[in-house]
Symmetry: C2
Subunit: 336 residues, 2 copies
């Protein structure tokens, strides 16, 4: 591992100046400090500070995901992570980030500067600037729903979409549904790809025909239900599987606007099992992602990485939760 002297030699400055840069002393310029930090990161230098018991700090970076109140997806992910991490006496800081900040500040530099031993990244997309940097990061990093190939310092945590989607299709197929639509999230997302594949595989294993017109990307925008529901109905859908519970509530609202009853005329299934599932009418059948457990698993993965156990992926089981939004299909007819 690189020493302070190595960094000093490389930059042609004194050991004392490097030390000031690393410790955030105020009598060197920001530019020099940044250079010292960037070089330290580049050379794989780790401050003792990051290893000291009394400075044990982890960061959770949140992007594109609400987490402030308990009815939002991110809330319990953070809670679960904290609950598990606190047992091992870690301090956990939650830090919202946006694309602009990621361009301004390098990931490894930010981590080193702030004395974080590792980070949990939630809600990032493959287009985010930091994601590309994760191919080579040396910082223990856990990603929710994203995967980085071949870097032993990065782990992936998520829910098994295949089992989740399959449970829903199995249930609908058993009720007699043959035309099951799938309203997915955003395209170019790892999880959307997985779920679409799971949907296609599960249809096949239940000898149901795949019809591309029965699938669409909603971008998780609830209002988009009004564009997709009519197409699904036109194609004869008797059930609509949605990629989250809010989308499902939008689909139910749209069906009602069209004079259709849920579940008598059309069945709807959500994803996540957020608190909203029990509040809408009818109470929503859904596929549960246990956010508390996901948070805990993320910490377990983090703990592995910090202990040099190069975990690649950690997945949780999805749980099928039956409520009142599904029923056998009505005799097939054009329902528009």
């Amino acid at each position: 591992m690189a020493t302070i002297k190595d960094i000093a030699d490389k930059l042609g400055i004194s050991v004392g100046t490097v030390s000031k840069g690393l410790n955030g002393a105020s009598d060197i310029s920001d530019t020099l400090r940044q250079t010292v930090l960037d070089t330290a990161v580049e050379m794989g230098y780790t401050t003792k500070k990051m290893k000291k018991e009394e400075h044990k700090k982890l960061c959770i970076f949140m992007e594109n995901m609400d987490y402030e109140s308990s009815n939002q997806f991110g809330y319990e992910i953070i809670l679960g992570f904290r609950q598990a991490a606190y047992r091992d006496k870690w301090d956990v800081i939650v830090s919202p980030v946006n694309p602009a900040f990621q361009i301004e500040e390098k990931y490894d530099t930010f981590m080193l500067k702030n004395g974080y031993s590792g980070a949990f990244l939630v809600g990032f997309t493959l287009q985010d600037n930091w994601m590309a940097q994760l191919n080579t990061t040396t910082i223990p990093t856990v990603l929710f729903d994203n995967y980085i190939k071949k870097n032993p310092n990065v782990a992936y945590v998520g829910t098994d979409s295949f089992e989740g989607i399959d449970s829903a299709i199995e249930h609908l197929a058993a009720l007699g549904h043959k035309r099951i639509a799938f309203l997915n999230g955003s395209p170019n997302s790892m999880v959307s790809d997985q779920r679409l594949q799971a949907y296609i595989d599960s249809l096949a294993s239940h000898t149901l025909e795949y019809n591309e017109k029965l699938t669409a990307y909603s971008y998780y925008v609830v209002e988009n239900a009004k564009y997709h529901v009519p197409v699904f109905l036109e194609e004869g859908a008797t059930a609509i599987l949605c990629s989250n519970d809010y989308l499902a509530s939008g689909v139910i609202a749209e069906c009602k606007l069209r004079g259709l009853r849920v579940p008598e005329d059309i069945s709807v299934i959500g994803f996540d099992d957020l608190p909203v599932s029990t509040e809408i009418d009818p109470p929503l059948t859904t596929i549960r992602q246990d956010r508390i457990e996901l948070g805990k698993c993320a910490y377990f993965a983090m703990n592995c990485l910090i202990n040099h156990v190069s975990i690649s992926r950690t997945m949780l089981r999805a749980q099928y939760i039956e409520r009142s939004s599904t029923a056998p299909p009505k005799i097939n007819k054009n329902m528009l």
Copy 2:
């Protein structure tokens, strides 16, 4: 959760007799004791003994895998698991099992009777009797290289075969190899299936043609190299990727018998990075499975399950280890 009274009521015997059955008292018959235990398991009863700090016991069941000495695959898996479990004050018992024993004794019953809080199963195949029972077990159970669908009490631990195989193919393709043979392990094994798929996918991503005759199952029997190597050579193979290091050593021996030099005439890559890799001539390029880390990960997964975090799978990164058994291919000719 069921109580001792529930078990007594169901069997029509006294609470005292149930208690004797659960505690292994000597003054009731083995048959009655077995019935009490079977019923307790069936009703989801868990003894307090299993939860007491001073009786914290986990079991590692070993089948079809050598583990007694440090040059064998199972040795470090056990060591890693123990190292991690001991930190949390678990006692870990290693128990070899065979198919006959699995037919004689139910898995859940054996666990309850022996006061184990969970088990790590290594070397089992999908044909083993206990594997079918794992679909419904309520005991925290971690499987090495095997997967049970939809049971939240069972987790899978393994190495990412896809990244491992891909690293090897990438390296060989970069050297200029176009006909890369793959000597797999046993058929009807989850890992063999994964590795074959990884091989096919990786060939495709390097725009190399897949030829079924360049693949074979060795059943991990080193002597079988003599049957497969001639076929591979006949098909023009310039490199042979093997599913473990002992197989690779068998392949190298067979090539030498035929007057071929490794790596000048043919390249050979192993899998696992067992101690033997550095002892053979030439030292073997291989794909490392870190057994100590696998054992530790298995314990992390176990710890999750015991804490009711329903981990589905935990995978480690494979690491490509370059030694001296690969080189650019010779100009193609029939090498027999």
